[in-house]
């Protein structure tokens, strides 16, 4: 987030979409430079809760002793609780929906000029689908990813690892391939790699994924990667 903030450049407004509040998804937020720049307005969007607002929940982390700067001291930031549905960000239509992952977790679909990007970083679509990946009606995330030009998707486990981690909220390589095929996407960017996997393991896995993919391209997700939709 620090590096991304530096790349954002000379803008006066930034939107940050947060799928859920697990630590690996919010840890970088306070290090995002625009958050501390009073000349840049930052809108932070995240999942609604029945008990506390997004700001209150993030305040648990963005306050001492976990972080020296209090959320109330950020001058040009607004926090928005997002329910499943659609909203507009400067001409980009954003669709949010709950997806299969422990705790309330959103996926996002961003559409502009007939192009669609779907972001499902933490997602276990095989959970709850009795005939995965053949029943779109009962598959989490389908409505968000259907026909997307680019799908950025959880690709955490090998098939062997997944069998020991059913219900943990992540996908096996087979599942992400099946999901991308079911949804009819053009490009799949793998994401949320297991931190225990070495670069060699990932390279081998991606070579197999690229070979096995039918009807879409597989792009290995990597730190700092940029993709044109």
């Amino acid at each position: 987030m620090r590096a991304l903030g530096a790349e954002v450049g000379n803008v006066d407004k930034v939107d940050v979409l947060i799928t859920h509040l697990h630590m690996d998804h919010i840890q970088g937020l306070p290090f995002f430079p625009p958050l501390h720049d009073p000349d840049v307005w930052v809108d932070v969007w995240g999942p609604v809760s029945s008990s506390q607002s997004l700001k209150e929940r993030l305040n648990r982390y963005l306050s001492p002793p976990l972080f020296p700067v209090r959320i109330r001291d950020l001058e040009s930031v607004a926090f928005h609780d997002v329910s499943p549905g659609m909203f507009d960000l400067d001409g980009i239509r954003v669709t949010a929906d709950l997806v299969s992952h422990p705790g309330p977790t959103l996926g996002f679909r961003l559409e502009e000029d007939g192009r669609a990007l779907t972001y499902l970083p933490d997602h276990e679509p095989a959970l709850g689908a009795h005939d995965f990946p053949n029943d779109s009606h009962w598959t989490s995330g389908y409505s968000l990813a259907r026909g997307a030009d680019v799908l950025i998707h959880d690709s955490q486990y090998t098939d062997e690892e997944y069998s020991e981690r059913v219900g943990w909220g992540h996908s096996s390589y087979s599942h992400v391939l099946g999901f991308a095929g079911l949804c009819g996407v053009d490009r799949l960017m793998t994401f949320h790699h297991d931190p225990a996997h070495s670069d060699e393991t990932l390279d081998e896995a991606h070579a197999r994924l690229q070979q096995a993919a039918r009807g879409f391209e597989v792009i290995p997700g990597s730190q700092g990667a940029a993709i044109e939709v």
Partner: protein, 130 residues
């Protein structure tokens, strides 16, 4: 067909692993699932009849009060939960599609998601002595 809300996807997953008979309807009153245990009471496999839209559901199973007198549809627990978004419970008798009359306790719960979204109804059945 549109994708079901995540809450219903996960609820079906849970229901399919429990031995308590469970029945699920979407927010429009369409029957979208009942589990294997419910199949034993309802007298038919779900895959043989379902899903069933709300219009076709009317009169599909004959339902009476415990004494055999008619039970108005608006008093069915699932209809109460669906129309009033409140839990409902009662004893009733119904005829399964296998022709057998059974007495059951029915509890129906409205399903409400984050931000108050109404998602449908979950009903459980408990067979009792007639």
């Amino acid at each position: 067909m549109p994708q079901q809300p995540l809450e219903l996807i996960l609820l079906r997953q849970l229901a399919s692993h429990l031995v308590i008979p469970m029945w699920m309807m979407d927010e429009q009153g369409n029957l979208i699932f009942y589990n294997e245990s419910a199949e034993g009471l309802l007298g038919v496999h779900f895959d043989d009849v379902g899903p069933i839209n709300s219009e076709q559901l009317v009169g599909k199973w004959q339902v009476t009060q415990m004494d055999g007198s008619p039970l108005p549809e608006y008093d069915f627990p699932v209809v109460v939960a669906l129309s009033k978004h409140k839990p409902a419970h009662r004893s009733l008798r119904f005829q399964g599609l296998d022709g057998v009359w059974r007495a059951v306790e029915v509890t129906a719960l409205p399903l409400e998601g984050q931000d108050g979204r109404f998602l449908g109804v979950l009903a459980t059945f408990w067979e009792v002595d007639d």
